[in-house]
């Protein structure tokens, strides 16, 4: 386990060293971004819409019973932007993109494509890992912004159309604007950036260290997803704790 962690840190360091090549390899990064968007945008939309809706449905009636229905917009919005959107989007990307990356690199390793790159004096970290990690690190915060907007809309829809809640659209968003600060959004974006780096590095590491044939690829995919999820949840607590001072930040 510690050897894996050490290897992943070394891979992260090598990836950071390769970042200056990003402009040169912008087409590879753009291709990855397109793949990530294509594979996850619809799922992100559905997931966020229903998470926002369920959050409103769970908390709305309780708040209304206690005469606090007007606070629903802020509660749903804070829940989405500080916790649910970054974590759920990270889970989605780990399952959908991280697994695909581990499978692709694992298959390239098994079928000697990685060795072929090395013999052509092409560093696999520059050629394969950096564009993928960078693309996830750009895509995930963007997805979180998108998930926030869709999730808030889902919450507002449920709040206004559910008979037990009946908080109007304008009251929902009025409360949201008065409660949510820019620092709350930033909180989620910072978290999602770190989650993205974890997913990218863990998935690429699993792919590059695949051994054996198709069974080895399957094992790598499973480990990439499970390890990413565990690290995301651990990191979520640590980052939440570290980002608490941001709560006294700028108003939105």
């Amino acid at each position: 386990m510690f050897q894996n962690l050490g290897e992943m840190l070394l891979l992260l360091a090598a990836t950071l060293r390769a970042i200056p090549r990003a402009w040169r390899d912008r087409r590879k990064v753009a291709d990855q971004l397109f793949d990530i968007g294509n594979a996850s945008l619809f799922m992100a939309c559905m997931l966020s819409l229903f998470i926002g809706g369920v959050l409103a449905l769970q908390t709305g009636p309780v708040l209304v019973q206690r005469g606090l229905g007007s606070s629903l917009g802020g509660l749903v919005a804070l829940g989405m932007c500080k916790e649910l959107a970054p974590v759920m989007m990270a889970v989605l990307i780990a399952g959908r993109i991280g697994s695909a990356m581990a499978a692709e690199l694992g298959s390239m390793r098994v079928y000697q494509e990685i060795d072929a790159l090395r013999t052509l004096n092409i560093d696999p970290v520059n050629y394969l890992v950096m564009p993928r990690v960078l693309a996830i690190a750009i895509a995930l915060p963007c997805l979180v912004v998108f998930a926030n907007l869709v999730g808030w809309t889902g919450g507002a829809l449920v709040a206004s159309f559910n008979d037990r809640i009946s908080v109007t659209w304008s009251a929902f968003f009025g409360n949201l604007r008065s409660v949510v600060e820019f620092s709350d959004l930033l909180n989620g974006l910072i978290k999602s950036f770190f989650f993205a780096v974890v997913i990218g590095v863990v998935s690429c590491h699993q792919g590059l260290t695949t051994l054996g044939g198709p069974r080895g690829i399957g094992r790598s995919v499973t480990k990439a997803v499970v390890n990413s999820l565990v690290l995301i949840l651990l990191l979520d607590y640590v980052l939440t704790r570290l980002l608490l001072p941001l709560d006294n930040g700028w108003r939105f």
Partner: protein
């Protein structure tokens, strides 16, 4: 196939292997192998499956680190970081090692594209030229590797290895999974490459016809040890029992 009678002035690299040792876990795979490969020759390393041939080849290109001993290519340690920038080495993998996400033309031109050695039009010209050298139609360039037959994939891999005019080209089981006619073509391609460029060619195979057809010298590896080394004629004449058993092994239905 016959080995060429005269060679061009060699631009190939000599290789010196000294006491090369490698184990995987408790299993020794190479047990102190020592020999020289001369600049510009076609050297065939022959031996039964599991004798350590492919592991030896991976050491030559720096994909494995030896437990003991050393390999010097053109006087430089094969494990040195900058050997790739000093000399151009190439390998044709058993599976071809083509990148399936790239077209054939992108695969062949990958070395030039990634190292930005030539402008786009020049790379296209080199790709067409190298495909022609291995007798592939330029139209194949637009196809993806998984759309090609095994023989065509091997030839594309050879074309990719030829880009950048390598001084040492390694072939890992170049005729495995190929029918005898395609195997013959691949053997000819290796000889053509060696004749035309003078590059040192190291071929690892258990295909006896290929080995005796193209080799200047043959080494016979068994259980991680080099047991015989010599010209094809010397190898045929060797009394070594393992080698004779290997050469005489033919299927005779009862």
């Amino acid at each position: 196939m016959n080995a060429p009678a005269s060679k061009p002035s060699a631009t190939g690299l000599p290789v010196a292997i000294r006491d090369l040792r490698k184990s995987f876990g408790e299993q020794p795979v190479l047990k102190g192998v020592s020999f020289d490969i001369r600049a510009g020759e076609v050297f065939v390393l022959m031996g039964p499956s599991g004798s350590g041939k492919s592991v030896f080849l991976r050491h030559l290109i720096g994909l494995e680190t030896p437990d003991g001993g050393e390999i010097r290519i053109g006087g430089e340690l094969a494990t040195s970081e900058d050997i790739g920038s000093k000399f151009h080495l190439a390998i044709v993998f058993q599976s071809g090692g083509l990148l399936n996400s790239l077209t054939v033309a992108e695969n062949v031109g990958l070395y030039l594209t990634e190292h930005r050695l030539k402008p786009r039009e020049e790379i296209d010209r080199v790709v067409t030229e190298k495909l022609a050298l291995v007798k592939l139609d330029p139209g194949v360039g637009a196809q993806f590797p998984n759309e090609l037959s095994g023989g065509m994939r091997k030839r594309v891999a050879i074309a990719r290895a030829l880009v950048g005019d390598p001084q040492l080209v390694l072939f890992d089981e170049p005729t495995s999974e190929l029918d005898p006619l395609v195997a013959l073509t691949i053997g000819r391609e290796i000889l053509n490459l060696n004749e035309r460029t003078g590059a040192t060619c190291v071929v690892v195979t258990h295909d006896r016809d290929l080995a005796f057809g193209i080799a200047d010298r043959i080494g016979f590896l068994n259980a991680g040890e080099l047991v015989v080394l010599g010209t094809p004629a010397e190898i045929r004449a060797s009394p070594h029992p393992l080698l004779q058993q290997f050469l005489a092994a033919d299927f005779h239905p009862q």
